[in-house]
């Protein structure tokens, strides 16, 4: 790519298009209005999802670094500086349409000195190549108003006035047009003809870090392999530092002579750019990996970089003077997950409903420190217990309205808490019984009242159970239930702990 020279008054500004370091959020829209431009507008007729458009945009960057997307089905390329590289307009358009075909996109293309004109002409679909700005308005007059994509009522009102083409709209008095149809549409006409500047966001490809290193000899020792990753990780650190980004996903591939590559994927709870930390986690992962053969080459592939939000560290150590956990908690979760697997670490969440199995769920651990509402202490769970005798909880009907996020603040008598066990078995365990009386390592002593849970008819997970509290001969308090339906089996479901 050659340096682009922009002229503005007497100053010469040289900008190198190679530095693609800026992020999407950084606006790179400054364009001197007076510099001559030439835009290729592409209207995509058959589009297969946004990924295809981005693929084309990435490919189109070989023509110019100034590519911008026009959602949902357009692409603009500023090609003034690149024309001579592709043997003029014809050569460039031919090369571009070949690229479109290669990506699998059917499109119509137009060339005009302003981006909006190029886009509108491409939408019309007729051959339209204007390189001279003086000819632009003349060529635009015949085009219909539809491709401007103005609101239907505006187009309909213009049509009632007998205005059906762009030329007719341009001929209307400016003040009257702005009063009737709003200044926004007048500004759009100005951008169309090049009377005012049209600033466009440049497309920034979504970059990922990917680097491979061939090893000089085959390695088997995990520590040596980790050391071989060091230069790659250092590169990754620089890559992330430049972009002020962190990664949440990193894939590491180890190639062997015969066997298929070994892979391990590192997933992080929060964006990380700290190479030392990534190295530590990668080391944990490598230790858990079983290698079929010695390693010949290693490769790192990152997920999409995520913009990092930096925060201040606390003066106190965590736990000191009531200091919060700060960033250590996600680190702990990551370290545990790196060795034990992603599913091994989870948080708990309450769900509305009375079925014990569905009254809770695993959830992603809450790692950020959030102040906990002190009113919540002593707040009750959604389960309601019968106080005297069997009471049909299912009779209340309908799902409980307690949302998992906003837990109920409803206060229940403190003994209600003692009706539920602290431990739940992963699945109810059937108990042996003698003449209808359940046993578990001896006789069971019944204690307290029975609680009936009969609910779940609306989603197919219907249960009808009578829950009892019993003590076994070792003095362990158990939560058992008897099926309401035949064959009235007994199950152990919880331990009070």
């Amino acid at each position: 790519m050659r340096p682009r020279i922009l002229r503005k008054s007497n100053a010469r500004v040289v900008s190198l298009p190679t530095a693609r370091t800026s992020l999407r959020s950084v606006d790179t829209q400054w364009e001197p209005a007076e510099s001559p431009q030439l835009w290729v507008g592409t209207h995509i007729l058959s589009l297969k999802g946004a990924a295809t458009l981005e693929k084309l945009a990435t490919r189109a960057q070989r023509f110019t670094p100034r590519v911008s997307l026009v959602a949902p089905d357009g692409l603009l390329l500023e090609v003034k500086g690149s024309l001579h590289l592709f043997e003029g307009v014809d050569g460039l358009l031919r090369a571009f349409s070949q690229d479109c075909e290669a990506v699998g996109i059917e499109s119509t293309v137009a060339l005009a000195p302003t981006p909006l004109a190029a886009m509108v002409a491409a939408r019309v679909g007729r051959p339209f190549v204007v390189t001279n700005k003086a000819q632009l308005v003349g060529r635009l007059t015949a085009l219909p108003l539809g491709p401007l994509r103005w609101p239907d009522d505006v187009v309909a009102r213009l049509a009632r006035m007998g205005v059906r083409t762009i030329g007719q709209a341009l001929r209307l008095p400016r003040a009257g047009f702005a009063r009737r149809f709003g200044p926004a549409h007048l500004r759009e006409l100005d951008r169309l003809t090049g009377r005012s500047a049209d600033l466009r966001h440049h497309f920034q490809p979504r970059e990922r870090f990917r680097r491979r290193r061939e090893l000089t000899y085959e390695m088997e020792d995990k520590a040596t392999i980790l050391a071989a990753f060091a230069p790659l990780l250092a590169d990754l650190g620089k890559f992330l530092e430049l972009r002020q980004c962190g990664i949440t996903e990193l894939e590491c591939r180890l190639r062997h002579r015969h066997a298929s590559p070994s892979m391990c994927v590192l997933r992080l709870a929060a964006p990380v750019a700290d190479v030392a930390r990534i190295t530590e986690l990668l080391g944990e992962r490598l230790n858990a990996l079983v290698l079929p053969e010695p390693v010949r080459s290693c490769e790192l592939r990152s997920g999409l970089p995520v913009l990092r939000v930096l925060s201040c560290d606390s003066l106190w150590q965590p736990g000191e003077y009531g200091s919060s956990s700060g960033p250590e908690s996600p680190q702990l979760v990551e370290r545990l997950r790196a060795r034990l697997g992603h599913e091994a670490v989870y948080g708990l969440q309450m769900l509305p409903g009375h079925r014990p199995e569905r009254a809770w769920a695993m959830c992603e651990p809450v790692t950020a420190t959030r102040p906990v509402d002190s009113r919540r202490a002593g707040a009750s769970g959604p389960t309601v217990s019968g106080s005297a005798g069997a009471r049909g909880v299912g009779g209340r009907g309908g799902p409980n309205t307690v949302a998992p996020g906003a837990r109920s603040l409803e206060l229940v008598p403190p003994w209600a808490a003692f009706r539920q066990p602290l431990w739940l078995l992963p699945a109810p365990q059937q108990l042996e019984e003698i003449e209808g009386v359940p046993r578990r390592r001896g006789t069971l002593r019944f204690f307290g009242d029975v609680e009936r849970i009969e609910t779940g008819w609306w989603d197919g997970g219907e249960i009808g159970r009578d829950y009892y509290t019993v003590f076994d001969i070792y003095g362990v308090q158990l939560w058992i239930f008897r099926e309401r339906a035949d064959p009235h089996r007994w199950f152990l479901h919880g331990v009070f702990g």
Partner: protein, 215 residues
């Protein structure tokens, strides 16, 4: 006189231990008056390792810790409370009903493949203790060795974390570096706690009524 007050002030320093008294350490009330009387300093320590030896899982050892769990998780600056390799699933509604803030609870399961490698759960326990990100870490481990318990105790002190290790009561005869060791047995209305080892506290049995008043 001035020397005496100077000396008394010096002796208040938490790093100074005297044979008969307890070093001043931050404690949390256990929620049971009878237990608080016996525990060194009048409550559970804020950091260090506690061993709770139970004859069977579920005799009431978790109920004994519930007030502590609720107090530790509900503070505005609370850190995580980690359950390492619990024997069953902690029942979230019951915990919430006892005032435990579920956002602070973190469960760590040790996959079967890791269990065979020695110390899967103990490794996680040690990591959580030393990370400084947790207020309380509870672990259910089969047979930790004396050296490992020592490491756990040091990690807990480093991370200013309270570690609770649940072990079968057969281990009562073994020596341990834990700051506090106790057996928990079921009794008529609750549990009988026998303090086996208590740094600077009183040893002996204490009956605790776990049934709430009015039941």
């Amino acid at each position: 006189m001035a020397v005496n007050s100077e000396l008394a002030r010096l002796l208040e320093h938490p790093a100074i231990w005297r044979g008969t008294s307890v070093a001043r350490a931050e404690v949390l009330p256990s929620g049971f008056a009878a237990l608080d009387e016996r525990l060194p300093g009048g409550g559970w320590p804020r950091s260090g390792l506690i061993e709770i030896l139970v004859s069977r899982l579920g005799v009431g050892e978790l109920t004994l810790l519930l007030p502590l769990l609720a107090a530790l998780t509900s503070g505005p600056q609370a850190r995580s409370c980690v359950w390492v390799a619990p024997p069953f699933e902690p029942f979230a509604p019951a915990l919430a009903a006892h005032g435990v803030a579920l956002e602070r609870v973190l469960v760590v399961r040790v996959p079967a493949a890791q269990k065979r490698l020695r110390g899967g759960a103990l490794w996680a326990f040690e990591q959580a203790l030393g990370s400084g990100a947790c207020d309380l870490v509870m672990a259910w481990a089969k047979r930790p060795r004396g050296k490992e318990v020592r490491r756990l105790q040091l990690s807990a002190e480093r991370g200013r974390t309270l570690g609770v290790l649940f072990r079968p009561s057969q281990a009562a005869g073994e020596s341990s570096h834990a700051a506090l060791r106790m057996t928990v047995e079921p009794s008529a209305y609750g549990v009988r706690v026998n303090l086996l080892k208590s740094k600077g506290g009183v040893r002996g049995c204490v009956e605790i009524n776990l049934l709430p008043a009015g039941n």
